[in-house]
Amino acid sequence: MKKIHIAIFTFTICISLLCTSCIYGLNEFLYRSDEANTRSPDVVNLNKSGAAPDIGTSSEFSVVVITDVHFGRNSKKDQSRHDDLFLSWLSAKQAELLSQGKPIKFCICLGDSTETGLVDDYQLYADFCARIKTQTGLVVYSITGNHDLMNSGWSHWKSTVYPYVSSYFFETAQGDKKFSWYFLDSGNGTLGYRQMKSCIGKMNRDENPKIVFSHYPIYAGGIFYFTLQNETERDTLLSAFASNNVKMVLEGQMHEGKKYSFGNKFTEIVESGYLDYRTTGVLTVNLTSQSVAFDEFSF
């Protein structure tokens, strides 16, 4: 056998081993089984299924938003995790906001809950959500990120991560003062045709002011990576947001925070990462004034 043949054979074997042994599931680099259209063909109404959060009698309340939790790895900055610190911060913040008349009603995680999408990572995330529930009584609503879908992670997601779907919406209301919350499954860097059509259709029929959550930034001021890659999809979504009283779009993925204003229409906020930046956000919704505000905090 010629040397060149041996070299090609060896190279092929090495690449194959690299792909199959990579914890990020490189063997799925060219094809993943759970495509967006089959995974999230419809934006599910959680009010109908009874899974929507209960906000009690509060007309003004808060929601804690975290993103890029990445269970399965440590922070790139100090090679450790600070989940206990976050839980301490959350308990303190819960008491503080309660005293201000803006109690925290639930939590949101904007994707990349796990690092590799493997079952062990999902178990760590499920334990983390259980600790939040036990210590503060708050339920965590999650959407998928790209890391969650690695290694066919969707199969674990739909069995372990509340609310067991990744594209949904619900309504919070006090009398006729309402707010709608839309959670989009952008874990593949695209919503897919069916989810986008479902989302726009539901938004068109929904007159409430809205808040939208997505793992992938929709525009983020014009960066060309880590955002929705298809501009037709992006423009269609932004057009729907502008026409349907969307107040704010909250996103993750970039780890480094970013904010972009679409004039008086709505604001797009890319939240800083939980793990690498030890950052969390508090969203405050006032149903009476139909307003929404967002602040980031370090813990």
């Binding site: 593949n188 695209t190 060309f224 298809n230 057009s239």
Partner: protein, 297 residues
């Protein structure tokens, strides 16, 4: 581009392909040195036409041509090609079952390739115009192989009107490099910078347009097969009528046949990916395209 170049190549004389042929001056004289006129001749001119004899380049094994300079015997014919086609995507991704009608016009001359085209789909209309000016062409005849290299500047413009949603203007500029090894294989690499403007109708009172910086790249390999067939393979961050952001490449496999009477038929299958910038790349959809065309002088 590389595919076009492959289309334009004319087969060399038999002597040039015979590795056993003596590499004397006489032998080199018999070799078609792949002058620009030949390089820009569509393949239908191939086997049944005489190759021009270029006394200027006899016995020279390395030649450079800059800008519009050409050998005395240069063939200044402009070749025009019109292609009509239909494309359909699969039931995946964001362009579910998208059917489009496409018309392309291409013009080739020794130092310029340019293309204009329109596309219509159910909810969008597109216009494209692009061109490459080959500022340097280099030809090198080795004993066993003829190398052809050319380098140029490319400009792409794409306009898309998305009904009731937005108008997009995509402008790309960059460098284009092409190498032909022998007469059978051509490699083309294109690297571009892009500026993208998008006017969203429902946001236009707040923002005149959205702007994106972007990059583009394309790598194409064209292989000439027997029976006037050309096989092309490419990885590219853009397509004829599709200019997404950088991390969404398309893998294309195409096969074209050009008859002696200049009719052309071409079939392509492509896989579009989303977010290959990260490790979580995703197969967005497949699309298929069938085109027919005719070339005239």
């Amino acid at each position: 581009m590389a595919q076009d170049a492959a289309l334009q190549e004319q087969p060399a004389t038999v002597e040039a392909q015979n590795k056993d042929a003596p590499q004397s001056d006489d032998a080199l004289e018999k070799i078609n040195l792949d002058d620009p006129s030949v390089a820009n001749t569509p393949e239908f001119r191939g086997a049944d036409e005489e190759e021009p004899e270029d006394s200027e380049i006899k016995n020279k094994t390395k030649r450079f041509y800059w800008f519009c300079s050409v050998p005395e015997t240069e063939d200044h014919t402009y070749y025009h090609t019109v292609l009509l086609g239909n494309s359909r995507s699969t039931e995946h991704g964001i362009v579910l079952n998208n059917l489009s009608a496409q018309t392309l016009y291409k013009m080739n001359c020794p130092y310029v390739d340019c293309t204009a085209g329109i596309q219509q789909t159910e909810n969008s209309n597109s216009f494209i115009a692009n061109g490459t000016f080959w500022i340097m062409r280099y030809y090198h005849v080795l004993p066993d192989l003829r190398l052809k290299y050319r380098f140029g500047l490319s400009l792409f413009y794409d306009f898309q009107n998305l009904s009731g949603v937005s108008r997009q203007h995509n402008l790309y500029a960059g460098i284009n490099s092409e190498m032909g090894a022998g007469k059978y294989i051509v490699f083309n690499i294109c690297v571009l910078y892009g500026a993208k403007f998008s006017k969203i109708f429902s946001l236009q009172d707040e923002m005149p347009f959205l702007f994106n910086n972007d990059m583009g790249f394309g790598v194409t390999c064209s292989v000439r097969l027997p029976y006037r067939l050309i096989l092309s393979m490419s990885i590219s961050s853009y397509e004829d009528f599709y200019y997404p952001l950088f991390g969404a490449p398309t893998y294309t496999l195409g096969l074209s046949y050009t008859s002696k009477n200049r009719f052309q038929i071409k079939g392509e299958v492509a896989a579009r990916y989303i977010d290959m910038f990260t490790l979580s790349s995703y197969l967005d959809c497949f699309w298929f395209r069938l085109m027919t065309g005719y070339t005239f002088k």
